[in-house]
Chain length 307, copies 2
């Protein structure tokens, strides 16, 4: 096999209380990456569709991650990449994680799967580290492996997954404004008072318990964030109004996706979604921003081969 | 019915990472409280066995809690209490919570159960607040209701329970040294850096997931504490040695119980317990401290009527 096309999903990190800890994959949006073997040892981004990605292989998250992987293998293989993005970098949906995860996943396959998918994670994180200037796994793990992931430890890296309720629906709300991850990060407090931190981890416990027990009332209360939401919501036009619309219309958990501007909202009943989408559309029409709405369930597969 | 005897169990709070958040009840040790109706409106502690408890009803956690309950009901009933403790106050096993929970639970029963057990919690917390100078529910909730409890929120009070693996055994190790809760509290940091707090809540997620999935490897890794253990372990003679004995002999989670000096250790196999107990006995004989060892499973009943 000399060419492959991979789909690597978008993902929602933080999930309210689980700052730098929780991340889940969604269905239907993400990166479609075509990878072809080359006769030389170059990594070439031939084309990017849907975003203007850096073509220098030292500056592109996908090729940086693949290079780390090839170095680990001691391989001198070369590949040409075409990346088609269904959402832009800077959307808060793990764009760089999708590109890095899909590229490494596809290259591993073209090389005959020398590593198990989960063991690709450290290389994918190299790409992500370039994009975010620090090691994060909360988008990378779901983009690669799917599911609802918990990064228990970064040193050593230790990740586990929790089951999610069958009827859990996710609405992604992406107003087209730019929120720079670095700017969103700079707003965060450096320390937390113990009682504040306690409230955060008590909600973390609530989200995990709710995922296992399908307790949507507990989920709704626990998807709460005392750290990032209070400062980052100001970067997202219409945030409070969207939150109000969700709260009043059956959402069982709403917050910022990653560092925004995308937002996510959980629903237990797909019938609640249509009215809500209409209200949000009208809101952003009035505010004068383009808007993408996407509904999904939790994606438990992660990166996959589509041809 | 004019007289009742109630058993209210000891409990383990914090459970490693879940500072002020997790608490579970144990079997076999706790307070045995006999309560008799009086013809006047007095609350009288007639006798305490196993500890020298304050007889002034304004200074005893049991009578303070009962008084709060009676005030809520608008009742002018009076009761005489005899409290027999199987462990001392200051042991780190929720002594005041056992007394307060058992007393209120028993009085509720003698009054014909005007409230459901879970609705007694705020009054039990009044007693606990007197003992610890602040509102805590991590011993009170398990002493009253049993099980593994998570205090999701203090304001408003919101508690949920998670299931625990059938074969989870608990070893309680109580060396007879005094650790004052106030002293143990004063040692704690006031703030946490975000990365430290993140590690704490990632482990909180791990403990909850492990309880649902019976993943003992995850449990062992997640029962870790970055806040209290590093400073409080110095107050407990032999702590590091006990931890080493546990780690080397099949423990699937070890830490300080509450503010100590008691410690708890989880095991998935009761056969591992005997050898471990012998080693700990020898350790504390050499150190010159009396020692109580107690094995239990998680108690899912909480306070109960025994006669």
């Amino acid at each position: 096999m000399d060419q492959i096309t991979v789909f690597s999903p978008a993902s929602v990190a933080n999930v309210g209380c689980g700052y730098d800890t929780f991340g889940f994959a969604i269905d239907g949006i993400g990166d479609q990456i075509t990878i072809a073997k080359r006769s030389d040892d170059q990594l070439v981004l031939e084309r990017s569709i849907g975003a203007d990605l850096p073509t220098n292989p030292k500056e592109n998250v996908a090729t940086i991650a693949v290079e780390a992987f090839l170095n680990h293998l001691g391989s001198r293989a070369g590949f040409t990449f075409t990346i088609k993005k269904s959402f832009k970098p800077g959307s808060g949906l793990g764009s760089s994680a999708s590109s890095a995860a899909g590229a490494v996943f596809g290259v591993n396959h073209l090389l005959g799967n020398p590593l198990d998918t989960k063991d690709l994670l450290p290389f994918v994180m190299e790409g992500e580290a370039f994009a975010s200037k620090s090691y994060h796994a909360d988008n990378v793990a779901p983009a690669l492996m799917g599911g609802f992931n918990v990064i228990r430890s970064y040193d050593p890296l230790d990740i586990f997954q929790v089951p999610t309720p069958e009827n859990l629906h996710v609405l992604i709300i992406f107003p087209d404004v730019e929120v720079k991850t670095s700017e969103a990060k700079a707003l965060l407090p450096k320390t937390l008072a113990i009682p504040e931190a306690r409230n955060q981890w008590a909600n973390v416990a609530g989200v995990i318990s709710a995922m296992y027990s399908a307790d949507f009332e507990l989920l709704k209360k626990s998807v709460t964030d005392f750290i990032a939401e209070p400062v980052r919501k100001k970067l997202i036009p219409g945030y409070e109004e969207v939150k109000r619309i969700m709260c009043e219309n059956g959402s069982v958990g709403f917050n910022i996706s990653g560092s925004g501007p995308s937002m996510f909202s959980f629903f237990k009943d797909a019938n609640d979604l249509e009215g809500v989408k209409q209200e949000v559309k009208e809101l952003y029409e009035a505010l004068g921003f383009d808007l993408i709405l996407h509904t999904s369930k939790i994606n438990h597969q992660g990166s996959k081969i589509i041809s």
